[in-house]
Symmetry: C2
Subunit: 563 residues, 2 copies
């Protein structure tokens, strides 16, 4: 049967996008082919807001039948952080049937070569992009993100990260030519001459272990990096956030099939409550690559135990913002208030510890004491979230009871500088919506250290009094080295302090944002330009996305012959 | 103090070489800046044969004082496989002093940037190249390689592999620009604008664990890949092969010093007999990268236990040559005879198992039975090594008593098709020189399987009778999958068999040489063109040299600021 999508068509359609992505990762200038504005959708086959909402509503209470081999049951029990029971069920796989079936199509996928694989991946992303409104609701009602954030971070930004991985995977595979003629002079004798063929070959099956908070954004890089390098990919979503990845798998299978490849190259592994199949899958010999986002504990377990696989982890860290001085006090406070509030701080990149000299800081508005800075930050958060509609639009919902429990426990850790408030959500009365809490701690007190040196995921941050900025720099270093950090922020007008902070970030391999006062926030990174994590401190063993993230997902096999 | 070698001079001198290396790894055509012929040396500051020999002789019985901090003793007890006691001693390090000292210069080395680091590395290689004759004797009298092989494999070919690693390291680091201007449109509002700086940062200290048989060839890729990516490098040579790497460290320290960098960025860790410091060093938190060549057992231990480090291993495999049919029977036999004889088969790339159908094969000289093929191979080896002078020049010496013991035990494994002979070496009467043994085994007998499915490092090969070429292909697959393979060879004129062998090599990630009958041998690879190992089967977790070999030795740290 002829493929419905020919290689020629796919290349004609998507090679320009691939080329632009390749250029973007080289220059790291701003670029994205995926519109951020909800109103940009609705033409050329993409779903507009109403159609996307309708498509999502139509999914509720249904069975997502992916047509996977080895389906032995139907499972699912997602309840939206906004209170809706999704009622969607997914195939539960007999992995002894599914894994071998996933390997059946690997030869054809390998033989397609890097360019065809890349444009097939771009087609998958294009179809996902067309359904961004539908995906936005799926992300919102699994992660608890507010709609606009679910739309942008779960839609175009996630698609950007997927495309970035495709671009890195493509360029890595074509660094070595398909063939080479090698001729070595032998003085007066004939040269030695060989013809060499080089073929990128996949490692096997990649396993993507998804997370609850960013199922698509954190899932796409590994999924597309593995698929574009010739591997099959098994997606094991978080049990609370299955739908966005199930839809992704559905689209991928549909495109693979239409392009003449085996749809089983991409499959879903949904699980029963408490089944814990990630551990089982991670130990299977067929699984040769694992991409994981989640707790440090399980990430460390994977790194230590899934020895047959290349393991890429994004775990947890303790993110610091060092506050030394600023030439835009208001801008600093409003920028930080936004960072703390966005998605109720439920991002691995949200700042946790604000290190502030106990003698205060210099600002464009004159000196400010420690207490004044903390009060200023608290006021900025209050101002930002004073209107309930705006608060709901920024905060989203608390994703699970653990986060709520940590938020409630945080008030016992020290003096509360900003109390958390409950916000009601008129559209979703069952949503748990909370404003962030800020707790004052003393950097010199051992009891307080136990708090600020642990990750407290959620809307909890600590204003930590330190003896000096030099002291803060050393605490920053120790925090990154011991706990890891996905992000570091710093505010300073002092060149010496700036150099010290930079040097710590360079030595401890952490990504630094300096003096952000406008519309860019320390907890956001842009694909094609910013690295997410560094892979060089304990928070993550890989960065999104660089050469190291893709280079070991395939190997190059050489066949050489005499001419 | 001003550096004696300025960055400007080094770039002017070596950038053209770096550019040629970059072009070579891209096209994978033949290229080398390091002459293979001994007579090519002696001008422009390089040592000729006599001067190189004299320099080596002058080293005997001396102390190689590298000026390293923390030296608490002098150790050494190398005895050449040719019988000479080298009598050279080396610094023994107090690692609690040495490791911190190695970190002192890392900031300046990092700040130098990728290009300066690359040209400093090229200068190190250039000075080593100038002393190739001296190094050749050092390699010969530690590895037991014959002089010509020690000269070529230990000299220009090793230097090529080092330069290849420098080229890969350089290009990987400059994939991301130093700076980027990022401007994101915001509709009618001003765009969001950031200035971004990207800095490659090292992981820490790289540890190179050298091997006995190819101290420079196997040591240089890791050494130069780590150094060129900004790391310090500690070289832990095999206790029987210290001298070539001690001289390498000496040259590196000298060049670093002259270029204005801390010489302690490269240091030697020689050990007392039985001290086993590799394990101790591999567990130190300062060691963040390990390059290892040697036994599977210790390589597996490193991969499992040195969890704080990126670990690159070249271990052991079982190399197969599948013999199905040939259009050049004589060429095949003479090519294989050379492969078996070179350095007495003491290469990780030497073929071990010849899989030959028990019903015989088709050749340009008519059909040949299994016994005829084996006898033909035996005769070809005999012919090649019939003259003692030529035999000595090809075989070199047996590197250690374990290899000799395995050779002697091999005759008990099956019917001996070619017995090993003792060859006397008039120049070095104490050298243990042996011709290869070929033992016939039956692929279908479980007792025989125990022999051919184990690595038997040294001049031992097995002619394994199989039911058919299809049977051989399956045995090839199983051997690679279970035991790993650094090389695979195959002889066939049958397109179907060729396709099957290729497919197995692609699926199991092994490097394949097809129908070699001339002056290229399955056990030799050329830098800049051939990959050594694949990193995709159990014989090695890395290939020399590709993007994956360098990409995770550094991380990129981003610092971003509002414009």
């Amino acid at each position: 049967m002829a493929a419905e999508l020919t290689a020629h068509e796919l290349i004609a359609k998507h090679r320009p996008t691939l080329d632009q992505a390749l250029e973007a990762i080289r220059t790291r200038a701003y670029w994205s082919p995926h519109p951020e504005h909800p109103k940009a959708y609705g033409e050329n086959g993409s779903l507009d807001a109403a159609a996307g909402k309708a498509a999502f509503d139509a999914l509720l209470g249904t069975r997502v039948d992916l047509g996977q081999p080895g389906t032995d049951d139907w499972v699912g029990g997602e309840v939206s952080p906004y209170g809706i029971e999704l009622g969607v069920t997914y195939p539960h796989a007999d992995i002894d049937t599914l894994l071998p079936a996933m390997r059946a199509g690997q030869r054809a996928w390998r033989e397609a070569g890097a360019e065809i694989r890349a444009v097939v991946c771009v087609e998958i992303l294009k179809r996902i992009s067309d359904r961004t409104h539908e995906f936005a609701h799926a992300v919102m009602h699994t992660s608890g993100q507010a709609f606009m954030m679910a739309f942008q971070a779960g839609g175009p930004h996630a698609q950007d990260r997927g495309l970035e991985a495709v671009a890195y995977a493509y360029v890595e595979q074509v660094r070595t030519p398909d063939t080479a003629e090698w001729s070595k002079p032998q003085g007066k004798r004939d040269p030695l001459a060989l013809t060499k063929q080089f073929t990128p070959v996949p490692r096997g099956i990649g396993l993507v272990i998804g997370c609850n908070t960013f199922p698509t954004w954190n899932g796409y890089p590994g999924l597309f990096a593995s698929l574009a390098t010739g591997n099959a990919v098994l997606v094991k979503p978080h049990p609370r956030a299955v739908l966005p990845l199930a839809l992704t798998v559905q689209v991928a299978r549909e495109v693979l099939d239409e392009a003449g490849f085996d749809p089983n190259l991409v499959a879903l592994a949904a699980e029963r409550p408490g089944e814990g199949i990630a551990k089982t899958l991670a130990g299977r010999p067929e699984i040769r690559i694992i991409d994981y986002t989640g707790s440090t504990e399980f990430g460390d377990w994977l790194e230590a135990n899934a020895r047959q696989a290349q393991v890429y982890t994004e775990k947890a860290g303790v993110n610091t913002v060092l506050v030394d001085s600023t030439s835009d006090y208001k801008g600093m406070l409003s920028n930080l208030a936004f960072s703390l509030s966005l998605y109720s701080g439920q991002m691995c990149t949200t700042p946790q510890n604000f290190l502030i000299p106990r003698d205060g800081i210099r600002t464009d508005e004159g000196p400010r004491t420690f207490d004044e800075v903390v009060a200023g930050l608290a006021r900025a958060v209050d101002g930002l979230l004073g209107d309930d509609a705006r608060a709901n639009a920024l905060l989203g919902a608390i994703v699970n009871p653990d986060v709520k429990a940590r938020l409630e426990a945080a008030t016992g850790l020290g003096e509360v500088a900003l109390a958390s408030r409950e916000i009601s959500n008129p559209e979703f009365p069952d949503a748990v919506v909370r404003t962030p809490v800020i707790v004052k701690l003393d950097g010199a007190k051992p009891d307080d250290e136990a708090a600020y040196m642990s990750e407290c995921f959620g809307p909890v941050s600590f204003a930590v009094a330190v003896d000096s900025s030099a002291d803060a720099v050393e605490l920053l270093r120790r925090t990154i080295r011991e706990k890891g950090a996905m992000t570091v922020g710093a505010y300073t007008t002092d060149e010496e302090v700036e150099r010290s902070v930079q040097e710590v970030c360079l030595e401890e391999a952490a990504q630094l944002s300096l003096n952000l006062t406008g519309g860019v926030y320390v907890n956001q990174t842009a694909a094609f330009s910013d690295f997410h994590g560094s892979g060089g401190n304990p928070a993550a063993n890989a960065a999104l996305c660089d050469g190291a993230f893709v280079a070991n997902r395939f190997r190059v096999v050489e066949v050489r012959r005499e001419v």
